[in-house]
Symmetry: C2
Subunit: 694 residues, 2 copies
């Protein structure tokens, strides 16, 4: 993180370029006014069908008619990690399948392609209308959502998710085609994909080739795709208009001040304490040697990324200018409220938030499993609950156990990801220690969990006695995997089992469920209040309003543009040449060290006049975490880049849009082609991509 | 940290080899019984006068008649850091003065050599006897201590510190010769001094050349030294008896269970939260580039070291077996108490501890300056208080401002260490954020401190507006240094100053002092209670008892010995050959990368038959932080090694001795000589060291 020595005012809210828009409700007037181009329905349908959601948390797009998908290396990273070993470290060293039979199937990756969106708000609202309290309402809402999803899934065979929009104001049914046979085609080395490491994360200038190619298979064959995005033949120019189709994960722009303050004073400090703790733990473990580094690297990156994002957001929330703007906006809206303060949505949200806050730490430790960090525990709880929840009507279950989500859930539960005893013990020891420090040794549950042992001893015992995962390396245990047996055996198998993790999951389940029930009832109160708020906002706003992000497909738009007063003002991109210069300046020391392939390719890149090719460019598109891997297209729906990050000033986008200093960062397609040709000699892949250009 | 898969019982308390003994009270009976050797008074005097305290926090010893001092690289590190720049990075790359005129003077290093110890308990006790409450007692105690020190300093010209022993049971006056012209002679590269980095810290096997040579000067000439320790000509052998003379910083073995529980449940979790936070901050900053790395590296090492030590100690305190042993010991002692529970020392300590706990967080943020991490702030507060305290009688002042400590205080205050704006802003922003998160934005003091700005904006403003330090690089300010002017100008200069940091120090000073006053009154209650406890313990213990560590000279003893069941059982040392093997196994990747000098010297080391020379050895000596750099001698007072660390199991030593698995780790003198000869070609230094051998 660079120290920004001078603070510029962030203009909040700024209409231009704001919004992560629903594909069924794009802001035509705003688009026409701002960039003078309104996409046609065909244009939108094409982009929608070419867009891919990575359920591991990210976005991507089809880039050939044979199911080739382009995304970020860091979106692919958890899948690459699961395919890696210390000896064959694909996540670190990269991979190229130069023939189709060398493409490697991922262990548990699921991709979704959005087929349709249907507004089901009326049905949801009417189902909830009869409820006399929030517990009844929450149950009715859960029930109608499961019913809609179940009907849709039965009728279409498509994954069917009802998405809650505007914090509870609207409900849309999203239908997806699921793909689970996903194979790795090409990944560059982590050094170049993540050049600059944590230091450069959320920064610009950047010099990353943060890309990865997969191929989607169906019935053992490459998927034939009608809608895919051809690579544009020209690089982006200053002031080009671009569109981004991706899956932003979460924003908080519709939150009330009570919720924002809770985030600032409680949620963010608590999660940063936790993230700092984990970062130190994983960093220290990764330093122990190359085996440990391989095991922990992916988790470490993920923790560092969250830490930097949340830390940046917290900084924004501690800025009086930003908080004042948000307060003023709320104040203006409150003036439109003409009933009593007692019944106002803000007051109801504030009270519900207080209840949530009072339970949040305990809830996070138990239901959020912060106190039990081990994949073995996670598997144990999923098994325990699958069995329990399956015995209930679909609509009465905890939401993630509904029928329509079952196959995705099983894919994750039965993953063949290898688990390593030492690493599981490390994480579990630390999280049990956190549990003890936070709740105290005298807490009855803590006492039951530790069972008279220290956190370290207890963690060893728990890992030694579980059979709920595939073991990669077990100095403590070589117990065989029993997940499928428990899953098939149901309640009897659970009762007969002496698995330590299953016992632990049972031990905490009752309290964990009780906490969740209270939290969900208060979330229901907030949903009803937010539904009123969005009606009020829509009634009083002159412009269209986009709902907060929900990890569903959205359209953003913007301009290729630097930041006034910064070097990017003149040239809002970096080049391949800049990459070499940066590595030289930092003496090729980590995290600014080039992989051998790139050092070797310097001459070929120079001689082929590729050295000045734009590598990463910035734009004003409104994006956030989850957008990683999103296709960036021009007005003719050609691919010009792949989103991989935002700059530091973009971290404020969680709570408010800014186009003065916040920027999205993309890998430029020109640099992808040049590197495939001159660095990786990836002939087959190049041919496939160029066919799309014809 | 390696995961210890099996837990061995730690034998607590174990008499053999326990104790950091006072040089004026060595346990003759125990020594005679355990190792069959009782040092003579001459032997003790010689070792005492050859031992050196590094006031930056560590130990060392004279190793030639010309004032040459040997210590650890990590003890020297803060001094090396202050002499380094990104271009001439001595801390990283090492240094060799091959002629005497190339020896470089340190900026603010003070060494002390202990001249005498005098028991002043009776005088302290009688001065306090008349007090009617703890506030009066604390004042009387502070006053008599300052009086004794002042008298001694005036009479002898020696630095005079009254040391509180056994938590308040005894008071000894320590007189030191101070040296402040200390010059760097030789430092190896950080890579070899700290080979294995944080991963190997507190671990054995180890492969470090953690050494550094300084020379003490007086009146511009090398100091002539009568008592120095010649290098032993033979390497240590299995079961050799050894002695360690050093300055262990702090232990908690005399603490009551109430104090231990407070440490486990409050102090350690809080300080670990803080250390994790700082480690992440500094690590991220250091990754930004070589300039940033140079600035932050020393602080980062220091934080990592504290984090690992405290985390290990917390693990010990969460072990029921250890806590049960400590409880039983207290329980047995309580049986000896024949007055009421209400008046018992344990009860009084427990109540005082509760009061301290209730204020500790706020106290740490303000008086401990956790909320204001910048050397500029530290300088500002010292200046403010020097001026205020100087106007009071010596005995009424805050203890660190007494006359007898003034010259050491000024040495630190006026240090020429360069300060970098970006780094000071980084630390200050983070600590202000911590302050806000911990006390809340609504806290009146927080509100005054932030002055309507965000932590980041306020930090920039504070750093831009201060002149209280030497600026190394100031993108924010190039304001000249005004420390000496303020110091000389006194109260008028402070009142006339518009320095931002001085204003901040003034803003918090009143509350900070109030908190300190309450804490000190309760510490006084604990001191009186501990005085009773130690009398009870001495009356009832069959063996001698050593007081808890106080960063004063102590004698420990032990045996060169591995751990049963571990590879070290057969050979309690590593060799130079093992070092090369470890680097090979880890593919010479950081933190297991050898410096070029060592890679180049492999042949010379092999051909000179040096490759099997012991590099690091372990022993059962009772040591802790502060002992780093301590000379390890044989029964004939020859130097056989230099302490530089303990193993992971030694972290329990803070609360209880263990000789089953806890071990001290030393650099062996043989390896020092071999590396000076074959790696560094340090002819002059070798000649000087060998003369000592004649």
């Amino acid at each position: 993180m660079g120290i920004a020595v001078v603070f510029f005012a962030v203009c909040l809210p700024s209409g231009a370029d704001e919004g992560m828009w629903l594909f069924n409700a794009i802001p035509k007037k705003q688009l026409s006014h701002t960039i003078g181009f309104v996409p046609s329905q065909d244009w939108l349908d094409h982009l929608q069908h070419a867009s891919v959601r990575f359920n591991s948390g990210g976005s991507g797009a089809f880039v050939s008619s044979n199911g080739l998908v382009l995304t970020n290396h860091h979106v692919a990273a958890s899948s690459l990690q699961k395919l890696s070993t210390p000896e064959n470290n694909i996540a670190r060293d990269g991979y190229l399948a130069d023939t189709i039979d060398k493409e490697i199937r991922c262990l548990d990756l699921e991709l979704n392609v959005l087929r349709s969106i249907e507004d089901v708000t009326a049905r949801v609202v009417s189902a909830v209308a009869g409820a006399t309290n929030s517990a009844e309402a929450a149950a009715a809402r859960r029930s109608v959502l499961a019913e809609i999803e179940h009907e849709s899934f039965t009728a279409t065979g498509l994954r069917s998710d009802v998405v809650t929009l505007f914090g509870g104001g609207y409900y849309h049914l999203y239908r997806y085609k699921r793909y689970t046979d996903i194979r790795l085609v090409f990944a560059p080395e982590r050094q170049i994909a993540f050049f600059g490491g944590d230091a450069d994360n959320f920064e610009f200038p950047r010099h990353c080739l943060d890309i990865c190619f997969f191929r989607v298979y169906e019935k053992g064959q490459p998927l034939t795709v009608k809608s895919f995005l051809p690579f544009a033949s020209n690089d982006v120019q200053q002031d080009d208009h671009i569109f981004v189709a991706g899956h932003p994960g979460h924003t908080d722009r519709g939150k009330t001040m009570a919720e924002i303050q809770s985030m600032r004073d409680r949620r963010l400090p608590f999660s940063l304490e936790w993230l700092n703790r984990r970062e130190v733990l994983l960093q220290a473990y990764a330093e122990e040697g190359h085996v440990e580094r391989q095991r922990a690297m992916q988790d470490l990156f993920s923790v560092q990324n969250s830490r930097k994002a949340r830390s940046g957001l917290l900084s924004s929330l501690l800025r009086p200018d930003i908080m004042n703007r948000l307060e003023n906006t709320e104040h203006d809206l409150r003036k439109q409220w003409n009933k009593g303060e007692q019944e106002s949505p803000w007051n109801r949200i504030s009270l519900a938030q207080q209840t949530i806050d009072s339970l949040a730490v305990r809830y996070n430790l138990l239901e959020g499993a912060m106190g039990f960090r081990s994949q073995f525990f996670s598997n144990a709880r999923t098994l325990l609950r699958i069995v329990e929840e399956s015995g209930k009507p679909d609509g009465d279950r905890l939401r993630e156990y509904r029928d329509s989500a079952r196959s995705s859930l099983e894919l994750r539960l039965l993953s063949n990801q290898p688990l390593y005893d030492d690493y599981e013990i490390l994480k579990l020891t630390d999280s049990l220690t956190f549990l003890v420090n936070t709740l105290g040794l005298d807490d009855p549950l803590v006492s039951d969990v530790l069972d008279g042992k220290s956190p370290a001893e207890r963690a060893i015992e728990l890992v030694a006695g579980t059979r709920l995962g595939k073991r990669g390396d077990g100095p403590v245990s070589t117990a065989p995997d029993r997940r499928r047996e428990i899953l098939n055996g149901g309640r009897d198998a659970i009762e007969a089992s002496d698995d330590t993790m299953l016992s632990l999951a049972q031990l905490i389940d009752s309290e964990s469920r009780s906490l969740r029930k209270i939290i969900e009832e208060n979330a229901e109160i907030k949903k009803q209040a937010h539904a009123e708020l969005i009606r009020l906002r829509l009634e009083t706003s002159p412009a269209a309003i986009a709902p907060d992000a929900t990890f569903t497909l959205r359209l953003a738009y913007g301009t290729v543009k630097g930041v006034t007063g910064q070097p990017s003002e003149l040239r809002p991109w970096t080049t391949i040449h800049d990459l070499f210069t940066k590595a030289d300046t930092e003496k090729n020391r980590s995290p600014f060290d080039l992989p051998e392939s790139w050092r070797d390719a310097h001459r070929a890149l120079t001689e082929s006049n590729s050295i000045e090719t734009p590598l990463n460019f910035i734009s004003t598109a409104d994006i956030i975490g989850g957008n990683s891997g999103s296709p960036v297209v021009n007005t003719t729906n050609e691919l010009v880049g792949v989103i991989f990050d935002g700059n530091e000033d973009s971290l404020v986008l969680d709570i408010a849009y800014d186009n003065v200093r916040a920027r999205a960062i993309s890998v430029s397609v020109g640099a992808i082609m040049k590197s495939l040709e001159h660095v990786y000699d990836a002939k087959t892949l190049l041919t496939e991509l160029r066919e799309g250009l014809q």
